[in-house]
């Protein structure tokens, strides 16, 4: 059991990295990866929201939708719940812990429309994970996102002061770098 959980976790971080292998959450991956500081904040925020969302959506699916035979409302209810919850948490954090808000909370709204969150929630259901497995998967995905984002931010800080050709500056070089990073991460395949 434990080994299986660890496997799910590791696979989610490295082998099926949300960004580099599943291609989810690209908008913030490209958008928030220009500075290491904000990448760190965003990374932690994503881990948090992924965990929260996967717990809540798993519960909704298994305690509400399945019993009522309303599986077809999956998408709409998940996104509604994720969006509202995140917004709620953001407001609470902002009021009660301003310091935390400055380093993490500001990124929360950005995550609502991050398809990694909804994507991982859906994958959890699709693969029929139980709650613990779902949490392990979400944690791995979040950490994987964090890693990818941090690496990318480091690279982009360096690229920022390099002589990149004019037409490659910004998004193109970021995507090519992401592609090469994804190639590098293929090295993890078959692990576990």
């Amino acid at each position: 059991m434990g080994a299986e959980l660890i496997a799910i976790f590791i696979v989610a971080i490295f082998i099926e990295n949300v960004v580099l292998s599943q291609i989810l959450g690209l908008c913030p991956f490209i958008g928030v990866s220009s500075k290491i500081d904000s990448a760190t904040g965003m990374g932690f925020a994503v881990i948090f929201v992924l965990l929260l969302a996967s717990v809540v959506t798993w519960s909704i699916q298994n305690f509400v939708l399945v019993p009522l035979q309303l599986e077809y409302l999956q998408t709409i209810s998940f996104i509604l719940i994720i969006a509202s919850l995140v917004q709620f948490v953001e407001m609470v954090v902002r009021k009660t812990a301003p310091a935390l808000y400055q380093s993490l909370g500001v990124f929360l709204p950005l995550i609502t429309t991050n398809c990694a969150v909804l994507g991982i929630s859906l994958i959890n259901i699709k693969r029929g994970y139980n709650l613990v497995e779902a949490v392990a998967n979400a944690a791995g995905a979040g950490i994987g996102f964090f890693f990818a984002l941090l690496i990318m931010a480091g690279i982009r800080e360096r690229l920022d002061i390099c002589e990149i050709p004019e037409s490659m500056k910004g998004a193109p070089i970021a995507f090519i770098t992401a592609g090469l990073l994804a190639t590098a991460f293929m090295g993890f395949s078959g692990l576990v």
Partner: protein
């Protein structure tokens, strides 16, 4: 003010005015790169010894692809002065050819050289700007694109010319390939442990070789240039003596693999096997020392080398691929900016300044 000698009357703008310093070490980028090419010659010789003209052909195709890409892109896309003659594209081409099998179709080698420079180097603005090791970028992309070609290993001595089709008789597995498949085969592992033979001796018996073959790079198969550790070490030593590389990276990487294999594999034999197989030596001496894609300080290079070694071993022992040098280097390349950030050299007077404030 009257001048006294005619010589002093040189026209004003005849004198050269530049900022200090006015003397230079004489080292140039081109010199460094051509020295690396020289250092690669012994390994090239061994490759030709093992695989005949085929080896030369693959190297040539890859170098041609690299140089052509460099030339075309600089000339027509960037409109920059062409600096093919600095030899860095040649290094990339040779090193790429050194980590592919000898049986690789010539056109694949050419494409590899081309994308190494195009996608690995020029998109970032050329020499010195790239994040990833261009040769490895190309190798990883080739491996992903044409896995069959990239894992068809020619038997040494099985002379192969351009057109000849590859038959099963001409191919064989690499030591790392055998140990990987053997390790996955639970039944075989059980048999071996019952009979008391180690995995390594199983590999040796399968290939009928020993450690000295591994060291000299004969009688087994592998990528073109990675086989002869002796030749590579010779080249590495040359670079060390010329001062183009430092000991930090290579030592850290080799030591990590050796010690790691010793701990997780249990035997000295196993550790030595990992040290002498695959692309470890060429990676440690020629690839993680690529100054462009590795950390700048000694401390950073130690971390970098350690990371490469650890990932290599992880992939070799647990991962899907038999060999992990290429991917470990690429992954560590991506971490270089972060490593650089955290291993800034200590500024003279820095700590004291803090003490003084406190």
């Amino acid at each position: 003010m009257n001048t006294t000698t005619a010589a002093l009357n040189t026209p004003a703008h005849g004198l050269l005015v530049t900022s200090s310093p006015h003397i230079y070490s004489g080292l140039t980028a081109a010199r460094v790169m051509w020295d690396v090419n020289i250092a690669l010659v012994p390994a090239l010789a061994m490759a030709i010894y093992n695989f005949g003209a085929r080896a030369a052909l693959v190297v040539l195709a890859s170098v041609l692809g690299a140089v052509l890409a460099e030339f075309l892109i600089q000339k027509f896309l960037m409109h920059k002065p062409v600096c093919v003659s600095d030899g860095s594209a040649v290094v990339t081409g040779i090193l790429l050819a050194f980590c592919v099998p000898a049986a690789l179709p010539i056109w694949v080698a050419f494409v590899g050289g081309f994308i190494a420079i195009a996608l690995g180097k020029q998109v970032y603005g050329g020499l010195g700007q790239n994040i990833f090791n261009p040769a490895h970028v190309a190798r990883a992309l080739l491996l992903g694109s044409w896995p069959v070609y990239m894992t068809t290993w020619l038997k040494p001595g099985a002379a192969m010319s351009t057109g000849a089709a590859i038959t099963d008789a001409m191919t064989c597995a690499t030591p790392l390939g055998i140990i990987k498949t053997a390790g996955r085969d639970a039944e075989l592992v059980k048999q071996l442990s019952e009979s008391g033979t180690s995995l390594v001796s199983y590999v040796f018996s399968q290939l009928q070789i020993g450690f000295s073959d591994l060291f000299w790079g004969i009688n087994f198969s592998g990528s073109l240039g990675e086989m002869s550790k002796a030749a590579l070490l010779l080249g590495g030593l040359y670079l060390l003596i010329r001062g183009h590389i430092t000991w930090h990276g290579p030592v850290a990487m080799c030591a990590t693999v050796f010690v790691g294999a010793l701990i997780f594999g249990g035997t000295l034999e196993y550790a030595a096997f990992h040290l002498l197989t695959g692309g470890l030596i060429i990676g440690a001496f020629f690839m993680i020392t690529d100054m462009v894609t590795s950390p700048m300080t000694g401390c950073g290079q130690l971390i970098f080398g350690f990371g490469c070694g650890a990932l290599t071993l992880l992939i070799r022992m647990k991962g899907g691929y038999p060999e992990g040098v290429c991917y470990s280097i690429l992954i560590m390349n991506s971490l270089v900016p972060l490593i650089d950030k955290f291993t800034m050299p200590r500024k003279f007077g820095q700590v004291k300044a803090k003490e003084a404030q406190a």
